[in-house]
């Protein structure tokens, strides 16, 4: 009976009967491990389905789908799939190192994995890699390289990269200053509901930078971003109502939007709101406060994330991006469970 048990014994790690034949178990485990090592070193490729299932397992652990949430375990499976060239697993592994999820934060490792996925053409990995070059994270700062990667992703329609690329043209970071080019990229991202790009595009119209000055157009974009909860856009909109630029002057609306930006920690909005308040009647202030209370950002989670990082996701379509923003949400919730 013992003999026929041995092959099953190997698998039941927690099982007490496994101790029945420790020597035999060790021998077999050793053979299997050696053979697998050999397979890895020889680059024997695992089937796509298998790699995909490893990645899925990683995601399940990460998000706690069907299993207890375990980021370390998730990371283990991501690594397995990433080693086999799974592009999303590589991106997710990069994010784990980038944000220190389930592992110590390590930008050098993050760059390594982002580059692998970026070289496979993954737009979000390209965006992250650009960001690492931009900020000198895990690699020597290189604005020209940053632009190179943003552009690759932007050309594929990645809104984060389009927005960043626009900013590079505005600031002359890695490229010559070119407001028309900046506005062009902002518009592409803005059309995909990227709030930062919408706000920046609004300012292009307000200042006539790279486009013909047009306050009504500026208001249109400020409004869109402000509705998404973008603090700077809320300030911009409040400012326009205050000055009556592109809209009919309306102090109550001005107060509402400045107040909303102020709540998000925008200090210049607070200052301006308080100056404005001194000129308003108590009824006007009450009305404006009612309006700000009634305000519901269209995408509160994104908006709150926006306040922490100057990056705005269009959505969580790609695993790496989803992972990244999920982590941001978790961090916020750790600080304040009632955040959302």
């Amino acid at each position: 009976m013992q003999d026929s048990k041995i092959f099953s014994i190997v698998l039941r790690r927690s099982n007490a009967i496994e101790k029945a034949a420790p020597g035999a178990k060790r021998i077999l485990s050793c053979m299997i491990a050696d053979t697998l090592d050999l397979a890895t070193s020889k680059g024997v490729v695992v089937s796509d389905e298998q790699v995909e299932s490893w990645f899925q397992t990683g995601e399940n652990y990460w998000f706690g789908q069907g299993v207890a949430k375990d980021e370390k375990e998730g990371l283990k499976w991501f690594r397995k799939a990433a080693d086999q060239g799974h592009v999303h697993a590589q991106g997710c592994l990069g994010v784990c190192y980038y944000s220190g999820i389930g592992v110590a934060e390590d930008y050098v490792e993050a760059v390594k994995w982002f580059r692998k996925a970026a070289d496979q053409g993954n737009p979000n990995a390209q965006w992250f890699l650009g960001d690492c070059y931009d900020g000198g994270r895990g690699i020597a700062m290189d604005e020209v390289e940053a632009v190179k990667w943003y552009r690759k992703a932007a050309d594929q329609g990645n809104p984060n990269s389009q927005s960043y690329l626009g900013e590079c043209y505005r600031d002359g970071s890695g490229v010559t200053v070119d407001y028309a080019e900046a506005a062009r990229w902002y518009r592409k991202a803005a059309d995909q509901s990227h709030p930062t790009a919408q706000n920046n595009l609004g300012w292009c119209y307000a200042n006539g930078d790279g486009v013909a000055q047009d306050f009504e157009e500026a208001i249109k974009w400020f409004q869109k971003a402000a509705e998404l909860g973008h603090a700077e856009a809320q300030y911009s909109l409040g400012y326009c109502y205050y000055n009556g630029q592109g809209v009919v002057q309306d102090f109550v609306q001005a107060y509402k939007w400045l107040n909303l930006a102020s709540i998000q920690g925008d200090t210049s909005a607070t200052a301006r709101r308080d100056i404005l308040a001194a000129t308003l009647t108590p009824d006007q202030i009450t009305e404006a406060q009612r309006l700000s209370r009634e305000y519901q950002p269209i995408a509160p989670t994104f908006e709150e994330l926006q306040a922490i990082r100057a990056k705005s996701p269009r959505g969580f379509e790609e695993p790496a991006e989803r992972l990244f923003w999920m982590n941001e949400v978790n961090r916020l919730l750790e600080k304040d469970p009632n955040f959302f």
Binding site: M1, Q2, D3, S4, K5, I6, F7, S8, V10, L11, R12, R13, S14, A21, G23, A24, R26, I27, L28, S29, C30, M31, I32, A33, D34, T35, L36, L38, A39, K42, V44, V46, S47, Q50
Partner: protein, 277 residues
């Protein structure tokens, strides 16, 4: 039956009975998956073992030999004859154990044969019958029956783990006959009608599902399973890898042999006599 009895069934009881049936079906599906996959994993292991056994065993013996001679030499230089004797005894013991381990593995591997396509197809039917035998609470108050029940489930579990489909078939087709042939007490496997008993049965079945799910999860996460995946997706890959591994082992063994000989010469130079070789 000539008359149709009118049976009163409470809605709750009926619902519970359906719940139990559904749980049994779920358990049967899981057990089928487990048996299939376990059998595949074991078959691949057996093949790998067949390829590598001789070479690993030789390598392991040489390692033990080198280790022994190093210890023997040390004790010789210290002039500690007690330690030298101890090293010799340890070596003999380790060698015997190692040979026994390999024998055990070989016996298990010999028994292992791949399930045929028909057998795999049959598994699901078998498990549908076998899960009907799960009634752990039924015999809780009857020690002799409980013992029989434990022996029966142990037999099923072992057959499941080792992929002994004939045994599974034998039990599934005629559990009473199986108990009779074994000379064990007879057991009543029909589902009792009482609400509390059905509830407890449902709970127990759910626990069983959790246990099998865990086993399946462990199996799929094991290196053994990974190896099986390698072997199944590309015919011949296992043979190739094994052949490559044999070459590596031959090199390793040749090195160990040289080392063992060097040690033997040194021992001889120091005038030592190995008792065991």
């Amino acid at each position: 039956m000539t008359t149709t009895p009118i049976i009163y069934t409470s809605p709750e009881l009926e619902e519970l009975r359906q719940l139990v049936a559904g749980t049994r079906a779920q358990l049967a599906a899981l057990e089928t998956d487990y048996t299939k996959e376990k059998s595949r994993v074991d078959t691949v292991q057996a093949v790998l073992f067949g390829h590598l056994r001789e070479h690993y065993q030789k390598r392991d013996q040489l390692r033990l030999m080198v280790d022994y001679r190093q210890k023997f030499l040390k004790s010789l230089m210290r002039g500690d004859s007690e330690e030298a004797k101890q090293a010799g005894e340890n070596f003999e013991q380790a060698k015997t154990q190692s040979d026994k381990d390999y024998e055990e593995l070989a016996a298990a591997a010999d028994k292992k044969k791949q399930l045929t396509a028909e057998e795999e197809a049959e598994l699901s039917q078998l498990w549908k019958k076998l899960v009907k035998l799960y009634h752990p609470d039924r015999f809780a108050n009857e020690p002799d029956k409980l013992e029989t029940y434990h022996k029966l489930t142990a037999a099923i579990n072992q057959a499941k783990d080792t992929g002994e489909i004939e045994l599974l078939r034998e039990i599934a087709e005629d559990p009473e006959g199986f108990l009779l042939r074994k000379g064990w007490a007879n057991l009543d496997f029909s589902d009792k009608e009482e609400l509390t008993q059905l509830k407890r049965l449902h709970e127990t079945l759910q626990n069983e599902i959790i246990a099998v799910t865990e086993s399946l999860k462990d199996l799929r996460a094991s290196p053994d399973y990974e190896l099986c995946q390698f072997a199944e997706q590309k015919p011949g890959v296992l043979d190739e890898l094994a052949a490559e591994r044999v070459k590596q082992l031959e090199i390793e063994s040749a090195e160990l042999e040289k080392q063992a000989e060097r040690l033997a010469k040194e021992i001889k130079k120091l005038g030592g006599t190995e008792k065991i070789v």
